[in-house]
Amino acid sequence: MIEIKNLVKHYGDKKAVNDISFTVKDNEILGFLGPNGAGKTTTMNIITGYLSSTSGTVKINGHDILEEPALAKKDIGYLPEQPPLYLDMTVEEYLKFMCDLKQVPKKEHKKHIEMITDMVGISAVTGRLIGNLSKGFKQRVGLAQALVGDPPILILDEPTVGLDPNQIIGIRKLIKNLSKNHSIIVSSHILSEIQEIADRVVIINHGKVAAVDTIMDLSQRLSGTAKVLMSFSGPAKDVSARLKMIPGIADVYVRNAGNPGEVEITLAPRAGSDVRANVFFMMAKSGWPILEFRSLNPSLEEVFLSITAG
């Protein structure tokens, strides 16, 4: 569990991190989002002990990162934006070195490294120099070093950068699997990725927390009441006029669906109204068959843009 309370970091006059507080529960994946320069990397660097905060506290499984650094750091695996790799070492030498740093007992090194290299798919390159590996393999070696020592908390800054689509899917699955017994913070610019794997998201903007919630709740909160998309067969003008008469509908937007005889409209209900049943019965009574009918929740991308705009 990670508890972050009132975290502040000054860089000269600038507040890079301004009173950030949030918690990551056990076995949870938290998506950490924000535009460039919002303070994501600074926050992650403070959580992992690389930087110290100006004020505020970070507790890793109950251990304060500044007061009990050794205990706190033992529980963290960190993959920074630029993987910390020694290019003059082979993958195996590097992971052995990481085992020493993480205080993994010597006799467990071999088995532990085999397990991790299998997990991230780098078993075939363990004997190769890191400097000679492709960007994708280097990224996976970086991920492997974060897993050394089996820390219960993983902090991953852009874990899928440089990977091909198959590898991205593999790493997403791995992160999902790891979440069964790890707390994970994942920062990524690929919002669809966060939407797919994260249980909750924290969006920060200008160093402040702009939103903390599940993606579903954020979407609903942002949209008020979800819009409804409907396509049907019938006269667009008449249908639109009848729909506007239904209580709870604020607005109706008509657009051509592309298929002949098919019209697509978007209904914007008033806050707190669920108009779907009334719309269905009105359409059925009028003899206008509904071809498609679904709620439109904003995507994470729309939520992100809305929260971070300006």
Binding site: G49, Y50, L71, K73, I76, L85, Y86, M89, M98, D100
Partner: protein, 255 residues
């Protein structure tokens, strides 16, 4: 610390750095030994004392990348985010450089064996010279390490440690020069010559007090002084501690 020591020591042999340093040291020591051997009289103390002049070249080569390289490739973060003490990182790197010097010095040990086998003497003076060599190596390596902590550029790090070591090697000369300069200025102020000489000697003495070469010059005669060794060791520890504090401070930086 053991992990850092092992990685750093082996890294000297994964890159040309260790080989270049060893090649320079081996060639020069071999040349000095051969030159003496040809005359029929070999003094190992002379060889070891002459080899001390290589500190100014070898120390910057082996220390310039110690922390500067870590910052460049982003591996510095490992020292801060893993459960290890920052001072053990500094110590591990320092001991790795010392170990490289020990490996380089094997060549000189072989020369000693040859001298002993040929009926020459390896006496207390030689042991004293070896002792001084390693204490000075510790002092200069700690200076090189500090220079590497201070800058992100390996070149600047090498230049800083080169200049620092150069100044230390010339401390007695610098002391005399400063004393004379102050004395000359005082002569324009019509200050009595006795006072001028006293001031000159005081300045020269104060500056040359920091000269480790002057402090240890009797070791090669077999006259050991614990205070001279403590001097080198305490300054080495001071520079290592300073390096540690600077690294620690970077974490708290607000720039």
């Amino acid at each position: 610390m053991q992990a850092i020591f092992k990685r750093e020591f082996l890294s000297y042999f994964r890159t040309p750095v260790g080989y270049v340093a060893m090649a320079i040291f081996t060639f020069i020591s071999g040349f000095i030994f051969y030159s003496q051997f040809a005359t029929g009289y070999v003094s190992m103390s002379v060889e070891i004392i002459m080899l001390r002049s290589l500190f100014i070249i070898i120390v910057p080569i082996i220390t310039m990348g110690m922390f500067a390289e870590d910052r460049k490739r982003g591996t510095e973060i490992l020292y801060y985010t893993n459960p290890i003490e920052l001072f053990s990182v500094v110590t591990g790197k320092f001991l790795a450089a010392m170990a490289l010097y020990l490996v380089m010095f094997i060549n000189v040990f072989i020369h000693m064996i040859v001298v002993a086998a040929c009926g020459g003497t390896v006496d207390a003076g030689v042991i004293g010279s070896v002792l001084v060599f390693f204490f000075m190596a510790a002092l200069f390596i700690s200076i090189g390490l500090l220079a590497s902590v201070l800058t992100d550029s390996q070149i600047i790090s090498a230049i800083v440690s080169f200049l620092f070591i150069l100044v230390i090697q010339l401390l007695t000369v610098i002391g005399n020069y400063c004393g004379t300069a102050v004395s000359t200025i005082m002569s324009y102020m019509d200050i009595a010559s006795d006072t001028r000489n006293a001031v000159r000697n005081a300045i020269a003495g104060a500056i040359s007090w920091f000269d480790p070469f002057a402090k240890t010059e009797l070791f090669s005669n077999g006259l050991f002084s614990v205070s001279a060794l403590v001097f080198c060791l305490s300054f080495a520890l001071f520079f290592l501690y300073l390096s540690f504090r600077i690294l620690e401070k970077k974490r708290w930086s607000q720039k």
